[in-house]
């Protein structure tokens, strides 16, 4: 195939990707860039549905609380991770041994945060579904004797789901806040000239934070199994 034919096919794909990108909320001025550099835009186009918290133009969707919350959680986790990284890097080998020992648990901690955030998002999606709100079927069931009890149980279950979501959110935010507090303690210990053992203790406590989330998660797994 000659270069001209290749270029024609390339641009044809480019136009298709650019139009799709525009229709999914991309900015107008990016149409040309998407046409010529479509291999970069294609993964974004394909990923938008699953994990992008914003429209392609980068503007948050209007009136979509769950997506805003998703962003807020990701931002909060990113922020605490940044602070934690800065504190651990700032140790400069001061607590090298404990850092090596706890590296695995620190990774687990980050994974646990993401897992917890994902559970909250899943619950948000579930609670945002029309079935969890009042609908004509629910109204009709309220008037029928046999169905009334089932409808009441259904509503109670939805209330429990909402409470569970609140609990998960509280746990996550609590752990994040606790790690932030420990991070400032690391800084305090370092600059107040505390012995290395103190920093080691702090790092170990941060790594132990994963236990709180793990226990909560493990309990929920058991609860589901029952």
């Amino acid at each position: 195939m000659l270069l001209i034919e290749t270029a024609i096919f390339y641009l044809l794909f480019g136009v298709v990707v650019a139009v799709a990108y525009y229709l999914r909320g991309g900015a107008t001025f990016e149409l040309v860039a998407a046409t010529f550099f479509w291999p970069f835009y294609l993964p974004m186009l394909l990923a938008t549905g699953e994990d992008a918290g914003e429209t392609l133009s980068g503007k948050p969707p209007v009136g979509n609380d769950s997506l805003e919350e998703r962003d807020a959680l990701a931002t909060a986790i990113g922020q605490v991770e940044g602070e934690l990284d800065a504190a651990l890097e700032g140790l400069d080998g001061w607590a090298e041994d404990v850092l090596n020992c706890e590296a695995r648990r620190l990774v687990e901690l980050r994974s646990a945060w993401r897992l917890q955030a994902e559970r909250i998002r899943q619950l948000d999606r579930l609670l945002a579904e029309p079935a969890t709100h009042d609908d004509p079927l629910a109204a009709a069931a309220a008037d029928v004797g046999k169905a009334r009890h089932s409808e009441e149980v259904r509503r109670e279950n939805i209330r429990q789901l909402a409470a569970l979501r609140k609990q998960l959110h509280g746990d996550l935010i609590g752990t994040l806040a606790w790690v932030r507090e420990l991070v400032t303690m690391i800084h305090l210990a370092k600059f107040s000239g505390a012995p290395a053992a103190r920093a080691e203790e702090l790092v170990a406590q941060i790594a132990a934070a994963v236990q709180g989330l793990s226990e909560v998660n493990a309990w929920r797994e058991e609860e589901l199994a029952v």
Partner: protein, 309 residues
């Protein structure tokens, strides 16, 4: 339902208990270099204000100028932004724009240098060269135009040079994207294709910024060679150096690519992370070698085709 609330409450209480103990122990921190202090001497230390923790990144603050500043001054924060999924739709076009701007500036500067020397690269088509490999693939021929040295600017040769470099340098990385993605998977770094794209564009942006940084020095040297009338060999050497300048600047891009990937080792189990980090470094170098092989072919093909047209 009672069990529903007991376990999380216990977990929270456990966390709070550790917090209390920890706070008590930390506030009783002894001074450095003073072992064996008695209980009363605790807390008698000067507390220095700890450094401010990094500010969270709001994707809306990532404008082109901010990104440019991050590339130049605060690379760790740039890497922090790259890990924010919500920032990707803003990062991608802006990093692309920075790269394109840098490479276009380079193309214009090179065209100016060629104009000043009165010579313009004459390219031989690759199929013709493959038939007679002893012929010169690229030669610097004197500019022959009724418009004098401005000829290449009017007949589109300068535009071909600019387009070939600006498009070729970026499109070559698009060609190499799948291999980088698979290299990352091989190294054990769990990345999505989108993350690989953003990291690649970040390395392009870093290379473009480095190129723009080197450019004034190169132009000054090239102008010196032209003004002081250095020999043909030196002139040809200077022009060749100009043509490979993006590859030299690309080294900064390669380093930035590795620096961006290395922290992502935290997505793999800790016992494997250290072992795989070295492997990841080798894979990034391999990808850079692959990219370095693709780029000249891409640029040359586009340049030669556009010059012919």
């Amino acid at each position: 339902m009672s069990a529903t609330h007991n376990v999380p409450a216990n977990a929270t209480e456990q966390l709070l208990g550790v917090r209390r103990r920890l706070r008590d122990s930390t506030l009783r921190t002894p001074a450095a270099g003073a072992p064996g202090l008695v209980d009363d001497e605790f807390c008698a230390v000067e507390v220095v204000e700890p450094p401010a923790p990094p500010r969270p990144i709001d994707p809306r603050e990532l404008t082109m100028l901010t990104l440019l500043e991050l590339v130049l001054k605060d690379r760790p924060r740039l890497y922090q932004a790259l890990r924010l999924p919500a920032a990707t739709p803003r990062l991608l076009p802006r990093l692309l724009a920075i790269s394109l701007t840098g490479f276009v500036l380079y193309g214009v500067a090179m065209s100016l240098v060629f104009t000043a020397t009165g010579r313009w690269p004459s390219l031989m088509s690759l199929p013709a060269w493959l038939e007679t490999p002893r012929a010169t693939l690229l030669a610097f021929a004197p500019i022959e135009s009724t418009l004098g040295n401005l000829g290449p600017w009017v007949n589109g040769e300068a535009a071909a040079l600019v387009a070939a470099y600006a498009f070729g340098l970026i499109a070559a990385s698009a060609v190499c994207l799948p291999s980088l993605y698979f290299y990352c998977l091989l190294a054990g770094v769990r990345m999505t294709m989108l993350e690989v794209v953003v990291h690649t564009l970040k390395s392009k942006a870093v290379a473009a910024v480095a190129l723009v940084g080197i450019l004034p020095i190169y132009v000054a040297v090239a102008m010196g060679v032209v003004i002081f009338g250095a020999g043909e060999l030196v002139l040809a050497g200077t022009m060749w150096l100009g043509l490979i300048l993006p590859f030299i600047a690309g080294l900064w891009g390669t380093v930035a690519l590795y620096q961006g990937f290395a922290p992502l080792c935290d997505t793999m189990p800790a016992e494997r992370a250290k072992r795989r980090e070295c492997f990841l470094r080798r894979l990034v170098l391999s990808w850079s070698a692959c990219y370095t092989a693709v780029v000249p072919v891409m640029i040359y093909t586009i340049w030669e085709t556009l010059s012919r047209g």
